[in-house]
């Protein structure tokens, strides 16, 4: 695999990049902070067999004008990538987002509009070379409109719908889309929130996602138990959803 990862500086992206590096995949990291990227690239380099140097370039989801240059840099370093992984994203609690419209606008823009723009740029490149994999982190929060995550969930619902559409439209043409739907995972994104039962660890999520990328699975829940949890939640009638707190 020759993979570009946007969001490898933290959390599940960091875990994923490490596991990919350890098994010898060629990597190129994109993110918004140069010194952080440098450190994460060094970390991946140390984990790659033979300490092969992992490159990086800046790419901020807040700034779509930079997407092409970032992907050019990745293409050049990797000699044409075949996989693009996006773990980057923002979170805010419902209370935070309701209280702060700037933050809400930023979240909706970054998590949905700009992520889609980035994926479109990546998709064009992958399809131009005949095939490739686009793996993007959405969320279980996008599966159903739910009280605690109305706004964040809406941004992820849009993203999930986009990824599902891509799979339907382009799978036959060689584009493999993998939509990852994590449940609650212990990263700094969720630090300070009370973990529900079945909270996951980034490492376990990462190995599950890597396996899904290898097999080209269109949708993957992680930890796996969330597939069943969400199955039940999707079946609950509206009057129940209005009553319950999740």
């Amino acid at each position: 695999m020759k993979a570009v990862i946007l969001g490898a500086t933290k959390g599940m992206g960091r875990a994923l990049a490490r596991q990919a590096a350890a098994r010898g995949d060629a990597l190129f990291l994109l993110g918004r902070n140069t010194s952080d990227l440098e450190r994460s690239a060094a970390d991946c380099t140390a984990r790659t067999p033979g300490q092969v140097k992992v490159g990086f370039a800046t790419c901020d989801l807040a700034d779509p004008d930079g997407f092409d240059a970032a992907l050019d840099a990745a293409d050049e370093a990797l000699g044409g990538f075949d996989t693009v992984i996006v773990t980057a994203g923002m979170f805010g609690t419902q209370e935070q987002l309701e209280a702060d419209l700037d933050r809400l606008r930023a979240l909706l823009t970054v998590n949905f509009a700009h992520t889609v723009l980035f994926c479109e740029a990546a998709r064009a490149r992958l399809m131009a070379r005949g095939s490739g994999t686009l793996c993007v982190f959405s969320s279980v929060a996008g599966d159903r409109g739910r009280k605690p995550v109305v706004l964040y969930g809406a941004s992820k619902a849009g993203l999930s719908a986009y990824l599902e559409g891509l799979d339907h439209r382009y799978r036959a043409a060689g584009l493999v889309t993998v939509c990852v739907k994590p449940g609650f995972v212990r990263t700094s994104m969720t630090e300070g929130l009370t973990p529900p039962p079945f909270a996951g660890e980034p490492d376990t999520v990462a190995s599950r996602v890597l396996a899904a990328v290898d097999r080209g699975k269109p949708v993957v829940y992680a930890p796996w138990i969330w597939a069943w949890v969400m199955w039940v939640i999707r079946l609950l009638p509206r009057f129940v959803m209005r009553k319950v707190g999740f």
Partner: protein
């Protein structure tokens, strides 16, 4: 599509992680001995930001007592475990630099299969580099390799005035050596640089031997230390009379390639202790049975897996739960050579007179004292025992402390929850010099822990 512009402030979440979390509930936090205090750990990848207003860092919380717990009135400690990147490794010089929250377990997962090992490992891999430095940990090779701190070449630290400084044995040596074994009280360690070692194979050649009593044990330990790079052993503290201190002595070295099995030792699975045991599970009978059974375990010589050799307790997840709801403490002391050949025997006699029972009592000889200003080991023997917390634990620890003070011994801060300030002062002539450096870098004593308030008289 024309997306609306994103206001820059909305993305740039620069408030420190400690402030950000202040809405979450303050729960309870404990050391490995599970004696709890109010508090919580706040984690962030960015240690520089996280430590801006922190009074204490905490790694994996494997210190047994209150070293990693917030002082009274402070709720948050800065949890370092998300700051875990390897920053560089030079296969020529073997210099490795990493963020302080990197765990020994994660480090070894990368480097052990490649033929590199840490110069010193404690008895568990669930420790962070920051914790290894702050406690200046020692291992089975202490008599040859010294403590971990002796292999550290540089530390990047946040100090009390807010600056971030690099310290080495040459640059700010006072800060450097006060931090090695300084229990997090001199500043926050952000990065650690140290020298790895190359090993001939990932397997261990080990010999073990059953010894009938403490005198034979001590003689055997001293002999083994002459030729073996790693020694340790275990003592049955419930035996008495002629058999007082009977035990099992182990000595080991890395296996050479021609005697080692093919391939890398398969990682062992880790069953867990699923719940906190009720207090009655641990009683004089179960302890006696455990000790007797352990004494009967097969001994011999041969190639062995590194995991049970270095980290036997890592085999069981959450093993600290067997001590029940009140938790436990570890009493670890070192007795100097000057205390005489019978120092261990006298200690065990005092212990059995006091009725102290322990599942595991580990006795090991130590080499010369290191340069860390409060570093624990010194030339002599170290004795460690796990003690369940009961109503009389304070008296037991007091009595043991009074005994070891008479012998010129001292306790290991990273294990302690009960030592009185006056006892610690009596066993630690280096304390004043340490406090002087600490005050030089942190005049207000901003950096402090539950332990430092309890034992060093730090402001609340």
């Amino acid at each position: 599509m024309d997306a609306p512009p994103v206001p820059p402030d909305a993305l740039d979440n620069r408030e420190s992680a400690l402030q950000r979390s202040n809405t979450a509930d303050v729960g309870e936090i404990g050391g490995w001995g599970r004696v709890m205090v109010p508090g919580r750990e706040v984690r962030d990848e960015n240690l520089e930001r996280l430590t801006e207003d922190a009074v204490l860092c905490r790694g994996l919380g494997r210190s047994y007592g209150d070293s990693s717990l917030p002082p009274p009135g402070v709720s948050d400690v800065a949890g370092t475990t998300l700051a875990d990147r390897i920053l560089s490794f030079d296969p020529e010089t073997l210099a490795l630099r990493a963020e302080a929250g990197l765990s020994l377990r994660a480090l070894l997962r990368v480097f052990f299969p490649r033929g590199y090992f840490v110069p010193v490992t404690p008895g568990t891999t669930f420790v962070t580099l920051g914790g290894m430095v702050a406690s200046d940990v020692h291992g089975k090779n202490h008599h040859c390799a010294g403590t971990f701190g002796e292999h550290v070449t540089a530390l990047k630290m946040r100090v009390a005035d807010g600056r971030i400084v690099e310290c080495t044995p040459q640059q700010h040596p006072d800060l450097f050596w006060a931090t090695i074994g300084g229990m997090g009280l001199t500043g926050h360690i952000l990065e650690v640089e140290f020298t790895m070692v190359k090993i001939p194979s990932p397997w261990i050649y080990m010999e073990s031997e059953r010894v009938p009593n403490i005198d034979a044990y001590m003689t055997g330990l001293a002999e083994a230390a002459q030729t073996w790079p790693m020694t340790m052993g275990w003592i049955d503290v419930l035996s008495s009379g002629d058999q007082l201190g009977r035990g099992i002595l182990m000595r080991g070295r890395w296996a050479e390639p021609d005697e080692a099995p093919e391939g890398f030792p398969e990682p062992k699975s880790r069953p867990g202790v699923p719940f906190v045991f009720p207090q009655f599970a641990l009683n004089p009978l179960s302890v006696k049975l455990f000790n007797a059974a352990y004494y009967r375990k097969p001994v011999g010589a041969g190639i062995t897996h590194p995991e049970p050799f270095f980290w036997p307790l890592d085999a069981i997840h959450d093993w600290n739960r067997i001590y029940g709801p009140r938790g436990f403490t570890q009493y670890q002391c070192v007795l100097p050579k000057a205390a005489g050949k019978d120092a261990a025997r006298r200690f065990l006699e005092v212990l059995s007179r006091l009725g102290g029972a322990s599942f595991l009592c580990v006795i090991k000889d130590c080499g010369a004292q290191g340069r860390g200003m409060l570093s624990f080991p010194m030339d002599g023997i170290s004795i460690a025992l796990d003690i369940p917390v009961r109503d009389d634990t304070q008296q037991l620890v007091d009595a043991l402390n009074e005994h070891i003070i008479g012998d010129g011994g001292r306790i290991y801060l990273t294990k302690d929850n009960f030592t009185r300030p006056e006892h610690f002062a009596a066993m630690e002539p280096r304390l004043e010099a340490f406090m002087e450096v600490r005050r030089r870098w942190d005049p207000q004593l901003r950096f402090r822990s539950a332990q430092s308030v309890r034992m060093l008289g730090d402001p609340q």
